[in-house]
């Protein structure tokens, strides 16, 4: 048990360091809003540079335009890259989830068409799964695709998607639609790729409670797609989506920063009613210790996962614990930090309240983090069922035609 690179890994890390030293940006673009919005030119340029040097999509097979590298190579690059003020990454969803789905299920021509531009950051993808009628329940999709009446074999898509991250600046998307409502829920779905610039597609940003608008509603009105845009067989959409969602969970599991050290600083710099720093109070210390221990636990759980990766194992659903722990931790910690400031904690102005600025952001984002990518409740179900092997919930939506599944309406 040690933390040292193998000789091979050390050599790769050195190569990465040398390249980054010569090529990485030295400051972050002022227009970069950190959420993959704003001006994307810096992000595109950095992605193109990485692609040209063979540091983009490191683990992808060479025939997809990747490097055929190991997951550890990818982790090493990520670690080293994170030392620089790199631009935000609007390609994450596309390269992490959508394009691999395309590469898995499309014909060779389509792969050649979409792989290289995506890797170079020239084209951005989004994932059109969730719908108003079913957030966690992706298989409840009601957006429908019907064969065009003209016999062309084309499909006509109508319906609505929601919570689509980055739809506003995406070029393409993958969309799951219902092609047969008479089949049971999971059997009548089909996956397509779509051109987001199609005039039948309307994108409306969702105003979040936190103030931002990173998510979108996407409306489909008679959007015509070719049958060649189909990914996987007709009726195989659910199976295709599982490939995509598996990749989502891996991406999400990594986002586990927590803020204990900012909390420590805030507690050190705030005094209680006795004039002493709050960091001296045992109630503050105990909570801080608990959060530190949880954060460290997640960090080392990730180290264990990476070790498994480096040994060629596939990480399983146990990575679901990351978000379950981190989201609640973020909410509790932010709230405690705000309450620590007492009346002053209400102030939102970063100039007046530099201590609380970041905590306010966390407090308003945390409710979203507890929901996005699987609610706390769904993730506990996943742990219970897929890690511990407990029975699934009793389902009333299986083995009946989708149109007959109860919806309460």
């Amino acid at each position: 048990m040690d933390f040292n690179d193998t000789p091979q890994e050390a050599a790769y890390r050195q190569k990465v360091r040398t390249w980054l030293e010569a090529n990485a940006p030295r400051s972050r673009d002022a227009n970069d809003d950190g959420e993959g919005g704003g001006d994307l030119s810096a992000a595109r340029a950095w992605q193109a540079k990485k692609a040209a040097a063979g540091f983009a999509c490191i683990t992808w097979p060479k025939e997809w335009g990747g490097q055929g590298g190991t997951p550890i190579d990818s982790v090493i690059f990520g670690e080293e890259e994170a030392r620089y003020p790199i631009p935000s990454n609007p390609f994450q969803i596309g390269l992490g989830m959508c394009v691999p789905t395309v590469m898995n299920f499309a014909d060779p021509g389509t792969k050649d068409r979409f792989g290289p531009p995506a890797i170079r950051g020239e084209e951005i993808w989004c994932q059109l799964f969730s719908e108003p009628s079913g957030g966690s329940d992706v298989a409840a999709a009601r957006t429908r695709a019907e064969k065009a009446a003209d016999g062309s074999g084309d499909w006509i898509i109508n319906g609505q998607k929601v919570w689509t991250t980055g739809a506003q600046f995406s070029d393409f998307g993958i969309v799951i639609v219902r092609t047969d409502p008479n089949l049971p829920k999971h059997k009548g779905l089909t996956m397509f790729w779509v051109d987001m610039k199609d005039p039948g597609i309307e994108i409306r940003p969702i105003h979040q409670m936190s103030g931002g608008s990173g998510f979108n509603e996407v409306f489909f009105a008679d959007v015509r797609v070719k049958d060649s845009q189909r990914l996987g067989g007709v009726g195989d959409g659910w199976k295709v989506s599982l490939v995509t969602l598996m990749n989502e969970r891996l991406a999400v599991g990594g986002a586990t920063g927590t803020g204990w050290s900012q909390f420590l600083e805030a507690a050190r710099d705030t005094t209680g009613s006795d004039g002493a720093p709050l960091l001296q109070e045992s109630s503050v210390r105990e909570k801080l210790a608990d959060w530190y221990v949880q954060s460290e636990g997640l960090r080392h759980a990730r180290n264990r996962t990476m070790t498994a990766l480096s040994k060629g194992q596939t990480p399983g659903p146990e990575s679901s614990i990351g978000k379950v722990v981190a989201a609640t931790l973020m909410q509790d910690l932010a709230n405690e930090a705000v309450e620590m400031l007492d009346q002053y904690g209400i102030i939102n102005d970063p100039d007046l309240a530099p201590l609380s600025g970041g905590f306010h952001g966390s407090l308003m984002m945390a409710p979203g983090l507890r929901i996005a990518g699987g609610t706390d409740e769904i993730l506990r179900n996943i742990i219970a069922e897929r890690v511990l092997g407990l029975p699934g919930d009793i389902r009333l939506d299986k083995d009946v035609a989708f149109k007959d599944v109860p919806t309460g309406r």
Partner: protein, 389 residues
Amino acid sequence: MVLPNRMPDRRREACEPMNFDFSEDQKFLKNEARRFLEANCPTSRVRKVLDDPAATWDPDLWKAVAGQGWLGAAIPEEHGGLGLGRLELCVIAEELGRAVAPIPFASTVYVLAEAVMLAGSEAQKSAVLPRIAAGEVIGALATSEGPGALSGTSIRATVEGGRLSGTKIPVTDGGIATHALVLAREGGQLGLFLVDLSAAGVIRETLSTLDPSRDAARLVFDKVPAERLGGAGEGLALVEQVLDRAAVLLAFEQTGGADRALEMAKDYALERFAFGRAIASYQAIKHKLADMYVKNELARSNAYYGAWALNTNAPELPVAASAARIAASEAYWFGSKENIQTHGGIGFTWAVDCHLHYRRSRQLSLVAGAPRVWKDRLVSHLERRNAAA
């Protein structure tokens, strides 16, 4: 398996069960208040304040509320009020909390009016109370000067020769108040001072806060006339007395909000289907809502005891008020955040009302001092009581 009738706390406290409820008249008033606020303060009205960067309150609602007589409900008739008790204020507070009302009711009625009735001279009472009842005076409590809990030693605002200088931040309703109660140092002692904010030398700066449906400001005073409320050196004790009274009423606001959050969660869970059935049929949601209910009942029961202590001016008030505030803050925080969670993605949008309660729960928990401060105070009271027993 039946429980043995044997518990660790062998010192059985006497039950006092006889009439632990509001009267029929008070319940009638509560229903009236709900009906009035449903008509005059739907969340669309709250959102007008929330969405308009220039607005920090709803003056029309304020006028309407004054018209109902609520502002003077507990003010004696001789000073222009209705001369009812504090219990009537409690039922109104609960409904205001439920409605997330964007008005300076707490600052004016729970704080300013209570402080003047508690410690004001006859002249001060005559000058202020009738105008509160009429809706002409808006109050604000100005104690905080920076991050962290209120402490006797940290106050820098000073009164010299009857004139106040210093800075208070944040002052809830400070941007719209006509009068502030200011904790300041005079001759080395802390006093509580009544200040007319229309005087020269007052600079107000509206603050951006977690709850934009309520007003808050930074107030800068430069030699502004100030008259003391109560005795010299009584400032901190007076603030504590006022906060005890406000805490009970705020607890009713918080309980009202928490109940509404539970209702919203329940309604949504019954109507929202996932995997072919209402999400209300999943134990993860059922038990979450049961936990919300339990917290709300504990909050309500503590608030009732606070109401009794407030209304009878019982010596138990400091303990009862602390307990009411702690329980209500916990219930509203839990309810408001788990209401969002029950809604899922839609609960995270600006368009759905969940975040109004999430924000207001933060505002109400902080405005009269954070729960952590009240927990410390509560235990200090218990220590004293325990030592005396």
